[in-house]
Each structure stands twice: as structure tokens, then as C-alpha cells.
Subunit: 359 residues, 2 copies
């Protein structure tokens, strides 16, 4: 009886938030948003646990607050007794985490052997990195994340003796790749002149002779010299569907063909599972297969422009985050054939769609 | 020059092995098979590292042996100097592993807290389990794997307060699920009467009142009482494409709809990436999205019938494996809508296709 009432209540809130935001979410996202409120009262921790589009969850929490199911104060987001009863009636418990403390759940050991020394050298270099800029939708991952990503690509055989291209690189993954010493060559392209300058400087000072950095706006076609030349691409695309496709298509254009691989990140905060599905359809249509999806693999350092991001207005409490809250999955794809992709210029805003939160 | 010659040589071997086996592989699989030979000389370790269809790699190794690129003796598979030169000319190095030693690369900590006690209790229970039978394509994962799989589902919110169905259960995952105490109810169905009897006995002795075990052949339609009743399904399908679809479709039929989740395993040894791609197309066409693919998550205990499996004839050396060699990826899918699936009987052999190795 309590369960039935709870179900009706959550259904109603979900339908209302879905209608208000126009987001392609399911009721399961409402469950995730509610369960997240049982994790902690720090708003950013709740957001991290929610694992659902921020555009929608912030609306749902707003509706819940109006109905007395939760309160927000001093950056804290707390379920009221009524809110807790709702969760209980629905059999919803707090999110559980069983992440391995040794590798933060990534499954990759960066604390010993080869990777340890790579990490230490990279950490040293990255101290002087340029700050993240909103105009390029930047926001970089922790140094441990970058090294773990390189380790995955290495273990998959996508680095040794291979030509690697990095499309957009505020994570400085190109430097970490070159530091492994196993790639045939590494080309990094970025729209941001600061990053190109920084990477070139590091390449010189660290004597990374096979690392080349070139300024390039991915909205422009790739030069012929880069087409079909690489075994592996890595990127961290902007998550609007149109922007995502631009990044991936440029990456695929740079690949040699069947057997070449690509890596990218994808969040649950800025991409609904419906968008994930469209992305997967897109990847398959390009002749790729998805070989790996490691959820919550990428942990992002907080960026300066948090108050200026689109989602700031939606937040139930206007507090800056202290800990890591923004995570994304690591995808690996492998090509089974050479896709036909146009190398045309792309015009207009590629950064924003209805689900975007940080642009 | 050496590289060009090496490329031609590997190309030729690859094309020949592909033609002889009729497998939908790419030249990248030849690279993986060659790189694996640099890992170790234990044949089963080489097979584990190859991460490509066994039907094809065994044929490739056979051709390599005939051309003096490798030798097999006493269950060992060793590259000759010529074989090593080929790898070197192609820039192919030995497979690298950076798996976290604490969690065996699964990212899940089963050695402390809740999971530790769950693991110990489960290990105790599983000691008396029935042996794996070839006629049902059985072969079970390690107890650590079973607990880690349960932990992933728990962390994803697919267990707490949820109705869970397990389709085929030589892994005894239904018992581990019931032991968590958080599922609303667990139904396990299996064709194998021995397993049903064993699980019922455990349910009684461990007082797992919400665990129900029913004998059922998945080739038969699901009874109406199970249709649309579950939030989560778990299974480890036979890997012929037709058999795989039968397992997944029955699982999807048992689910409530949008927001429900499914888990299954998929290998690279018995499924080419081309089959992976067809499987992903199939899943998307059913209204599901793939949320997780954790490669090499499942580690299988060796089974008794190794000499009787289809792949035995193909093996370059007839030696029984000592260590774990058979692994599979853990997939999680989530439904975004209720799919239309027929609940008809399936006739004929669902266990074998050209890529099958263990049936």
C-alpha cells in the first residue's frame, strides 16, 4: 500500500520533471536521483551518485523540495522524513560502492612498476599546465586517470609500434603517450594555442622527438596528410550529439581502417542513456564495434568556471564543489571496416544541446 | 624494408587462415595472435592473451608452424628466431598487463567489508557444487568473479528492492544474490536438474526464503507468470549467435520494461568482434542500451571435459590447462522501452556456430 502510493508519487514527479525539461529519461533516472539523496548531504556527492542527466535531476529535486520531500541549505541536500519514507516505501536504498581502493575502481594499477614512474614524471610536467577554459568546453581529468587511460590503450595493443592521434587534449594524454616510449609517433591537435605551445615546450624539454602538436579547429576538415594515417585515436568529445559526432568522425577519418581503435569519454550527467543509445547506433553505423565501456573511469578535476556553467542556474544550492563530482565512462571502439565519412567543415554551435550542463 | 616484408608475410598468413576457417576476423586478430606468442610459451597462456577467436588463431598458429615461425613441443608454443624477427619487423611487442593486483583488474574490492563475508560464505557453499557438463555448455566462473558480478549489479542499483531472474546458473549467482539479503526475490531457472536440486537444498539450509529455483529449458517459451515480472536478469549465454539471442530474448521477456537491466558474459575466444557487432546491433534493436562492458571480468575455472571440446582438435599441443585461460567480458544493458519479442519455442542446435570452441 505504502509502495503503491510511493510509486504513484515518484511517477508523478518524474513525468513532471521530464515534461518540464524535455529530457529523454526513464523513471529509472528518478530512482537514481532519489537513491543518490541517501548517499550524503553534500550536493556534489549527491550529483556524482545520481548518474543521470543533471538537467533532469536538478528539476526533479526542485519539485521534490516544493513538495517537502527534501531541503537544501548551505550547499546541503537532505531528504526530509517524508522523503526518506518515500524511498523506503519504494525499496530504494542508498547507492553502494565497492570500488577497489587500490585502483579507484579502474582496474589498472598505476602505483607500481612502469606506470608508477610514468605517473610521477607526468605529474611533475602537468603542474605547469594551462587552466581549463569554458569557451573550448575544457575540463581535465586527474593525472592518475590520464595514466590509467594510457595503460588501458597500452594493454590493448593500441600503442606499441602504433601511430596515435589525439583530438583535443586538455588532459595532456599526448604527453603521457609519448612518455611511454612505445608509440611509433603521436600527433596531437587542439584548437587552443596555449595547449599547443605547452605541449611543444614539454616535447622539447623532455626530448619527446616523436610527439608533434598542431593547432587545428576540429570544425574544419582534417588536412589530407592526416587522413587514414593512424592506428589509434583518443579524444574527450564535447557531449552535444552533433559535437560528439564531429569529434568521432574526425577521429575515424584519421584511422587506417579495420583493426584501428578509438578511445573517448562519455558522461551520464550530460548524456541521457537515450543519447548513449543514439551514439552506439552511430558508432555501429560507422563500422565500429564497442569493445569496452568502463563506467566512472575518468575523474575530472574541478574547473574554475563552475559558476558560469549552464547548470549553475539549475543547482538546488549555489555552492562550489570541493571534491571530484564529474566522472565519465571510458569507451574503446575498434573498426571492422573503413567507414565512408565526409570531411566537410561544420558550422554553428557544436557544444550545446538540451542535455549539456557544463557549457 | 623488414617491416614491409613482415607486413606481407602476416597479411598472407592472415588471409589464408581466414579463408580456411571462414571466420569474420580482421588482420588485427593476426597481430593479437602473434603478440600473444611473445607473452609466454605455455600454450594456454598464449591463448588467454590472444583475445581472438580460437578457431582462427589455432589455424594461424598451425600455418606459422608449417612456415617455421613457431614450434610446439610438450604443450609449449614458442616463436622461432624467424618468428621473433617477424614480430619485431612489425613493431609488435608482448602483451602488456597493468591489472590491479588487489582486484585482478575487475575494479571491485571483494576482500573487505560486506563482500568479504559474502565471498567466504559463498565459497563454503560452492564447494559442494555439481561439476560442469558439456551437454549444457557449462563452465563456471571463480567464486571471486561471481561475487564481483553481484557487487557490480548491487552498485548499479539493480538488486536492492528488485526482483531478479537468473537464466541458467552453473555460476550459482542466484545463491550469491540471495545471500546479499537486499533483493526482493530471486528466481533461478536452469535446464539442469542437478543445479536446481543443489540450489533448493542451499536455499533451505541457508534459509534463503526469497530464492526460488525452477527447472526450465530456455528453448521452451517462458511461462506467462514470469513475463514482465523482473527488474534485472543475469545470464551467461552460450555464444552461438542464435543461442545468444535465445538467452537474451528470454531475459528481456522477463523484464518489466524501461529502466530494467540485464547482465551477461561474452568472450573474444568464441565470438569474433564481428559477432560482437551483430550482438550490439541486436541489443539496440531490442530497445536496450549498453551501459558497461568490462573486458576480462569473468575468469572461468577449468572444466573436466576439455579434451572433448570442439577446439581440442585444433590445438597446436594436446595439453590440459593448468591455470585460468578462459575469460569473458561482463556486459550490462538497460532497457529504454519495452521490446516486442516472440515467446515461441526454439528448435534445433542452439549451441554451435562456426566460432564455437567449447561445445
Amino acid at each position: 500500500m505504502a509502495e503503491r502510493k510511493g510509486t504513484d508519487s515518484l511517477d508523478r514527479l518524474h513525468r513532471r520533471a521530464k515534461a518540464l525539461t524535455g529530457m529523454p529519461v526513464t523513471r529509472r533516472d528518478a530512482e537514481r536521483a532519489l537513491a543518490a539523496c541517501l548517499s550524503d548531504s553534500d550536493m556534489w556527492t549527491v550529483i556524482r551518485h545520481s548518474h543521470a542527466p543533471l538537467r533532469y535531476t536538478t528539476c526533479l529535486w526542485d519539485l521534490m523540495e516544493k513538495e517537502g520531500l527534501l531541503t537544501t541549505q548551505d550547499g546541503r541536500l537532505t531528504l526530509t522524513e517524508e522523503g526518506k519514507s518515500l524511498a523506503e516505501a519504494l525499496g530504494i536504498g542508498p547507492p553502494m560502492t565497492f570500488d577497489c581502493p587500490h585502483c579507484d575502481g579502474r582496474g589498472v594499477d598505476v602505483s607500481s612498476g612502469l606506470l608508477k614512474s610514468l605517473l610521477e614524471r607526468f605529474r611533475q610536467i602537468a603542474q605547469e599546465r594551462p587552466t581549463a577554459l569554458q569557451k573550448f568546453d575544457q575540463g581535465y581529468v586527474t593525472v592518475e586517470t590520464t595514466i590509467a587511460r594510457v595503460a588501458v590503450a597500452w594493454a590493448k595493443g593500441d600503442l606499441t609500434g602504433k601511430s596515435v592521434i589525439v583530438l583535443g587534449d586538455d588532459d595532456l594524454v599526448s604527453i603521457a603517450l609519448a612518455l611511454t616510449g612505445v608509440c611509433r609517433n603521436v600527433l596531437v591537435i587542439d584548437i587552443d594555442r596555449r595547449l599547443i605551445r605547452f605541449i611543444r615546450q614539454v616535447a622539447r624539454s623532455e626530448r619527446l622527438t616523436n610527439l608533434e602538436a598542431r593547432e587545428h579547429d576540429l570544425r574544419n576538415p582534417l588536412p589530407d596528410a592526416w587522413l587514414g594515417q593512424f592506428d589509434t585515436f583518443l579524444c574527450d568529445p564535447t557531449e552535444s550529439f552533433v559535437g560528439f559526432k564531429v569529434f568521432i568522425d574526425r577521429g575515424l577519418l584519421a584511422l587506417k581502417g579495420a583493426g584501428s581503435a578509438g578511445y573517448f569519454g562519455l558522461t551520464r550527467l550530460e548524456s541521457s542513456l537515450s543519447k548513449w543509445q543514439r551514439i552506439q547506433q552511430f558508432l555501429l553505423s560507422r563500422g565500429a564495434v564497442v569493445t569496452d565501456i568502463r563506467d566512472r573511469f575518468h575523474w575530472y578535476e574541478n574547473w574554475d568556471y563552475v559558476e558560469k556553467m549552464r547548470a549553475w542556474d539549475w543547482l538546488p544550492a549555489k555552492e562550489r564543489p570541493r571534491d571530484i563530482w564529474y566522472q565519465s565512462a571510458l569507451f574503446r571502439i575498434e573498426l571492422l571496416r573503413t567507414p565512408r565519412i565526409s570531411n566537410e567543415p561544420v558550422v554553428g554551435d557544436i557544444f550545446t544541446d538540451n542535455e549539456a550542463a557544463t557549457t
